[in-house]
């Protein structure tokens, strides 16, 4: 039997990068806000960097892939028809618990892809619209960086950049010799004490949760402020569907609590921030007589245009000792090949996100399973040629939206509460394949110039579906988009979307900084229209 709860003003689904930002922003209205999160609070004292077996946790309880991780708070995903597997985390903070905190902004050109390059679509908003929200999100998250990056318009920096270390210097010298752009990466990492968070101590394990609390996951940035401002955050609350009335207005959400009891949370406004897979999952599971193909899906575009960033990994082995895994993973970036140059054989471009190196176990895996380090008596000699001598980069390639790349509902797969789960159908485009090939060739050149004597490359990174975008895109045309230019559903006027699903195109950079800014922008748009929100 479903329990009907007391009505609230706003229910937000998902407590990750977007849900946390919107909850904090809307709290100042004094509205009664409840956020429902299927996962739990994580405990920093339990994060892998507090244990000796920390590297192995990438393959266990802290794996980025929900199918491998298999926590009761996860939902399985059918990835059989995708060459790229999903990376996410379900809990307070969402994907920011396991992200690397590499924190670039979009560029002005990223919002004008159709106008500039004749592909995909322009966004209904531009960089200038989002700029104040980028700044606000930066203040809340705490961003480290170095002012003056010539790949961007001027932007604020709040803390000193992450250290170059030996790896950053080796790579920087290589980029300089090639005459290419590079710059210390913007990082959502406190390089000094910031807003109650301790400064980074180079733990090596950003992608396993930050035990120091220096990394800006939203459980330690937005949420303490939002909760103090009166937002109720309800964990172990897994939403199955959104209900609507005969006037096409959402009436609230149905969810399962920790004990498996079904609850109905009535609300005046429903906001979805479940990422580019979870949001279409909820919408497509919310079928009714008025929305037989899924809620807010009269355009037929819910779940379509799924974009990842296809990633290529290029790593060099050097003679000189580097940093190993010491430091934050974030190091320097290069945007030398960011903007379109059709002579390269593809449209749009990519960022090189340079990382530092690998820990002893990861080095051993790379060495043995690539055939560089043998078993037997020669093992030690060859291993010592690799350990603490690897650095390189990944190329974050812009993926163009295609309606054939989809999230649908699997016929059989269900989560622990019996809610149907997502299925992916995704094919890499020839443009993406050509871009990754180019990225590997050029990265090989710069790594050899920097002193690498051996190169390891891989594309696409099979487990690299970190960025989940495009499946409920924004736009002004209800037939070509799911929500309007400020995040409100075209079909359901009290339903808002605030996560990466909104993206019209995905740029060639990590999306989290833009997701946070977009969530603040949508929340602010709502606040400015409170009297006419549903008109």
């Amino acid at each position: 039997m479903t329990t009907q709860l007391d009505r609230v003003d706003v229910v937000i689904v998902g407590a990750g990068a977007s849900g946390a930002a919107a909850a904090w922003s809307l709290a100042e209205t004094g509205m009664q806000i409840v956020c429902l999160e299927q996962g739990e609070w994580t405990k920093p004292h339990e994060y892998p960097s507090t244990t000796r077996a920390w590297e192995a946790q990438h393959f266990g309880a802290y794996s980025a892939n929900p199918n491998r991780r298999g926590r009761v708070t996860d939902y399985p995903i059918n990835e059989k028809d995708s060459p790229i597997a999903i990376a996410n985390f379900n809990g307070v903070g969402g994907g920011t618990i396991l992200y690397n905190a590499h924190f670039p902004r979009f560029h002005p050109s990223d919002f004008r892809v159709r106008s500039l390059d004749g592909v995909a679509d322009d966004w209904p908003i531009d960089y200038e619209t989002l700029e104040p929200y980028y700044d606000e999100n930066d203040r809340m998250m705490g961003v480290a960086g170095l002012a003056g990056d010539p790949a961007y318009p001027d932007k604020q920096t709040l803390m000193k950049p992450v250290p170059l270390g030996r790896a950053g210097q080796a790579l920087g010298r290589g980029f300089n010799e090639m005459g290419w752009h590079w710059w210390p990466s913007d990082a959502a990492i406190a390089t000094e004490a910031y807003d109650g968070r301790a400064q980074c101590i180079n733990l090596s394990a950003c992608t396993l949760g930050c035990a120091q609390g220096a990394k800006a996951s939203t459980d330690v940035t937005y949420w303490p402020h939002a909760i103090r401002a009166g937002v109720e955050l309800r964990t172990r609350a897994r939403v199955s569907q959104i209900l609507v009335d005969d006037n096409d207005m959402a009436t609230g959400v149905v969810y399962f609590d920790e004990a498996g009891n079904e609850q109905f949370q009535p609300a005046e406004v429903v906001i979805l921030g479940c990422n580019g897979i979870g949001t279409p999952r909820v919408l497509l599971n919310s079928t009714s007589a008025r929305f037989p193909d899924g809620l807010a899906n009269r355009s037929g575009l819910v779940g379509k245009n799924l974009m990842f960033h296809p990633y290529a990994s290029i790593q060099g082995i050097f003679d000189e000792p580097l940093d190993g895994s010491r430091g934050p993973g974030v190091c320097v970036w290069s945007q030398e090949f960011y903007e379109t140059d059709l002579r390269r054989g593809f449209v749009r471009g990519f960022t090189y996100e340079c990382n530092r190196g690998r820990g002893p176990v990861s080095t051993a895996y790379s060495g043995v399973f690539s055939g560089r380090v043998p078993w037997g008596a020669e093992h030690h000699k060859h291993y010592r040629k690799m350990v603490e001598r690897i650095t390189g980069m990944v190329a974050i390639c812009e993926d163009l939206p295609e309606e054939s790349n989809t999230v649908t509902i699997d016929d059989e797969l269900v989560d622990p509460d019996g809610i149907p789960c997502p299925k992916l159908n995704y094919t890499l485009s020839q443009n993406s394949l050509d871009m990754m090939d180019f990225a590997i060739q050029r990265a090989t050149e710069v790594l050899k110039t920097a002193g690498a004597y051996d190169i390891m490359s891989d594309a696409p990174i099979a487990g690299g579906g970190w960025h989940l975008m495009g499946t409920a895109r924004m736009g002004t045309d209800p037939e070509r988009s799911v929500v309007n230019e400020w995040g409100r559903s075209h079909d359901v006027k009290n339903l808002f979307i605030i996560d990466g699903s909104l993206f019209v195109t995905c740029a060639g950079v990590n999306p989290t900084r833009t997701i946070g800014a977009l969530a603040l922008y949508v929340a602010d748009s709502m606040k400015k229209r409170l009297a006419t929100l549903f008109d």
């Binding site: 994060y47 960097s49 507090t50 244990t51 000796r52 077996a53 920390w54 590297e55 560029h107 002005p108 050109s109 919002f111 004008r112 106008s115 500039l116 531009d126 960089y127 010539p150 790949a151 961007y152 250290p163 170059l164 270390g165 030996r166 950053g168 210097q169 920087g172 010298r173 980029f175 300089n176 005459g179 752009h181 590079w182 710059w183 210390p184 980074c200 101590i201 180079n202 733990l203 090596s204 035990a211 120091q212 940093d323 010491r326 430091g327 945007q335 030398e336 960011y338 903007e339 002893p360 176990v361 051993a364 043995v368 399973f369 078993w375 037997g376 008596a377 093992h379 030690h380 010592r384």
Partner: protein, 153 residues
């Protein structure tokens, strides 16, 4: 009872000896580097405690076969014969060898003696963290000199 305990209980002395011998074949001790053998007691214990479920089944089956099919137990073969058998196994049982190899590397390269032999500290990353040099920021001067590269819209 958790999966690790169930796996550990299946390792009688014979299977433990076989496991130690095959781990030693994969990563033997090296006096030049003061590196321990992966067949040392601490690492064998860690491997047994770490393996779970179907991986443990596969490895136990492999070890049982090893003990029975070469005239005498694998751990009683001389080094040359062990190596020959191991190379054959890589061809005939690639999946199981990969699973065992992953476990061996994971446990070997978090072992205190191994880390010390590599000049590393045998400790958890937290709470001490690590020192990383800021580096030479003047390396950015050529990038600054080149000027703006982003595209106007």
């Amino acid at each position: 009872m958790n999966e690790n305990v169930i796996a550990a209980e299946r390792f009688n002395p014979q299977l433990r000896n076989a496991l130690a011998a095959i781990l030693d074949t994969m990563i033997p001790a090296d006096s030049e580097f003061s590196a321990p053998s992966a067949g040392s007691e601490a690492i064998v214990n860690d491997v047994i405690q770490t393996m779970t479920g179907s991986s443990a089944d596969e490895i136990v089956d492999l070890l049982r076969t090893l003990q029975e099919t070469h005239g005498k137990p694998f751990n009683e073969l001389d080094d040359e014969d062990r190596w020959r058998v191991f190379v054959d196994l890589e061809r005939s049982n690639p999946h199981t060898l990969r699973v065992l190899g992953g476990l061996a590397l994971q446990c070997y390269y978090r072992n205190d003696e191994t880390l010390v032999s590599l000049g590393m500290e045998a400790r958890t990353p937290f709470p001490l963290g690590h020192k990383v040099a800021d580096g030479d920021w003047s390396l950015l001067n050529p990038v600054r000199a080149r000027g703006k590269i982003y595209r106007e819209v």
